[in-house]
């Protein structure tokens, strides 16, 4: 976890780095493309699907850039299958940035990555899980089986996006994969535990959403005190720990008063598929 007393910028960048990323010497990268996104951003695209192997390459390159920052690079944004770089073209011409990436990609190896491991409390009680019964009937499982299947998996944080602190976690067990709702809800509550397609997430703020709501988490994905900080970073691993409605309410109260301090339980290394 970031230490107190450091400037927020540093703390956030520290949180962004999957720690102790390890590389397998036998590894090699696949094909990639560098595409312009205007004159102040480029996209390094490894593929066009949601795929752990592609995401490992994205995170490996992000890690290299965070270790070895280049003047004029403003920020990098990992996504499922590409890394976006925002840069200042007057400090760092596109040609130099491209050459730098080609050099890094030349010896980038990514077979094994590790991220922080989190156990996040979630409540699957139907009183805070408006879609649990419907998900059960659509998947042919009992609600208890849905909960069991959902909480049995260690999820990978592919990327953050959509809302501040919101992490896209995958992959959902095949039995729970459902398309999004045909008609999105105009409002879902902050903390909603949601599933859609192969992804699951905790929705950090009240927002419109077409995902299925199967529970609620008391934790805040973006914390403001004592300093602003996103809880999760791309490359982290997440297990959901089921709690009762009573426990959920106690934890929510603690969270609201800033007394719920969720810490990573450790590092987790795993081979990329």
């Amino acid at each position: 976890m970031p230490e107190r007393g450091r400037p927020p910028d540093e703390q956030l960048s520290a949180a962004a780095r999957p720690r102790e990323m390890q590389f397998d010497a036998k590894g090699d990268t696949g094909a990639y493309r560098i595409l312009p996104a205007g004159d102040t951003a480029i996209v390094i695209e490894f593929g066009d699907s949601i795929d752990r192997n592609l995401n490992s390459q994205v995170l490996a390159l992000a890690h290299r850039l965070s270790q070895d920052p280049i003047e004029g690079l403003i920020e990098y944004v990992p996504t499922f299958r590409s890394l976006m770089l925002h840069y200042d073209p007057l400090a760092l011409p596109a040609s130099s940035l491209t050459a730098h990436i080609v050099k890094l990609m030349h010896d980038l190896q990514f077979r094994q990555i590790s991220g922080r491991m989190w156990h996040l409390p979630v409540c699957y009680d139907t009183r805070v899980a408006p879609d649990l019964d419907r998900v059960a009937s659509r998947t042919g499982l009992s609600p208890a089986q849905v909960v069991e299947a959902h909480s049995a998996v260690t999820y990978h944080v592919y990327m953050l996006g959509f809302l501040p602190g919101m992490a896209y976690l995958g992959d959902l067990p095949a039995a729970l994969v459902l398309p999004r709702l045909l008609t999105p809800r105009l409002k879902v509550p902050a903390g909603s535990l949601a599933i859609a397609t192969t992804m699951t997430c905790i929705i950090p703020l009240e927002t419109p959403s077409g995902w299925h709501l199967i529970g609620r988490s008391p934790i805040s994905l973006l914390r403001w005190r004592p300093h602003p900080e996103a809880l999760l970073a791309a490359g982290d691993k997440v297990n959901f720990a089921p709690v009762s409605l009573d426990e959920y309410e106690q934890l929510s109260a603690q969270s609201a008063s800033g007394k719920l301090n969720i810490m990573p339980v450790g590092e987790m290394t795993e081979g990329a598929p």
Binding site: P8, L35, P36, G38, F80, R81, F162, A230
Partner: protein, 347 residues
């Protein structure tokens, strides 16, 4: 007592914005910041602030603000608007002033900004700035993330906006005589990143088309009505990163140009990206405006970026002092307006 501007009427979507908070997009945190960062800087230049100081960004309908400080210096840059200084907030008529100037107001006076024309946004800078703690290095309001600025939201009536200074300095007031912040008729773009999702015919349709800014546009994105731009193949697209100025193409071929409160990732292919030099102009486009796109190379875009930065670097040199005698004359006019205002108010 804390010096403030009190919000009498909030306007349609008045938010505090500065130059945004880059650096946190990998946490899903939008960059935010002024839609038209050139007008923001110009407004700050008029009141002697660092150019990136947070100011009010009014959209479509301006606010009415009452001075609850000894004196305050404000400046207005952006769209055209009728700006009136009222002797008090209930006065029906006031002294009209032009945009692109600063003015010193006293306690009890109010300033009323009308509906905006020839542009979507108007910046109201205050000498010394607002006394608001930055969030992640910026006082910009993130309308999606609901943080930053004034309680993470647009202004409401009776909000008290805290000011850093109890009184305005003795500096002169200034105006700009030759500041072009008019909305554009065309935007220059670099093709891509998903240029190869589109046939040459679709690219031609994109550059030949005239597009109208649609009503469902906000600080997140500008939706355009126009000829459909059809993708090749099926419409499955895995989310990737976005930039301000990214031109997304939806499944039915409509365009969404992404603006500063955009999501950091998006699920539509992007046919082209507005160049950085044209982003301030993009932010000026109002609902109903007509726009066309013109292709440039990245090298052209870089040269245009240098030109824009040179304009920004020279912005203070364009300041024209407003003679003090003029201030005295307007003070007399203010007295006569005060009297007529009282009469109007009673009848």
């Amino acid at each position: 007592m804390i010096p403030t501007l009190r919000v009498v009427k909030p306007g349609l979507r008045t938010t505090i914005q500065d130059l945004g908070r880059p650096g946190y997009q990998r946490f899903g945190i939008s960059v935010s910041g002024a839609l038209d960062p050139v007008s923001l800087r110009a407004a700050n230049a008029l009141v002697g602030n660092p150019l990136g100081t947070g100011a009010l960004e009014a959209a479509y309908v301006g606010p009415t603000l009452a001075v609850e400080a000894e004196t305050v210096r404000l400046a207005f840059v952006g769209a055209h608007a009728a700006i009136e200084v009222l002797s008090d907030e209930t006065a029906l008529n006031g002294r009209k002033i032009n945009p692109s100037r600063s003015i010193r107001l006293r306690r009890g006076e109010s300033v009323r900004v009308s509906s905006l024309t020839r542009g979507a946004v108007l910046y109201i800078a205050v000498e010394g700035g607002f006394d608001i703690a930055p969030a992640l290095g910026s006082v910009s309001t993130d309308t999606r993330g609901r943080f930053g600025g004034f309680h993470g939201r647009a202004l409401r009536a009776d909000d008290q906006l805290p000011l850093c200074n109890m009184r305005a300095s003795d500096r002169d007031d200034y105006r700009f005589d030759e500041l072009d912040v008019s909305p554009p008729r065309r935007l220059r773009v670099v093709l891509g990143p998903q240029r190869d999702y589109f046939s040459d015919g679709a690219i031609r349709d994109f550059f030949d088309g005239n597009f109208i800014v649609s009503t469902d546009s906000d600080r997140i994105g500008m939706r355009l009505k126009g000829p459909p731009i059809i993708q090749e193949g099926d419409a499955v697209f895995t989310s990737d990163g976005t930039a301000t100025g990214s031109i997304q193409v939806t499944g039915n071929g409509q365009l969404i140009v992404l603006l500063p409160d955009r999501q950091t990732t998006g699920g539509y292919p992007k046919i082209a990206t507005v160049i950085s030099a044209d982003l301030p102009a993009l932010g000026r486009l109002s609902i109903g405006s007509q726009i066309a796109f013109e292709p440039v190379t990245i090298e052209d875009a870089l040269a245009l970026r240098r030109e824009l930065l040179a304009v920004i670097a020279g912005i203070r040199e364009k300041l024209m002092p407003i003679p003090r005698t003029g201030v005295e004359i307007s003070a007399r006019l203010r007295i006569s307006n005060l009297i007529s205002g009282v009469v109007d108010g009673r009848h």
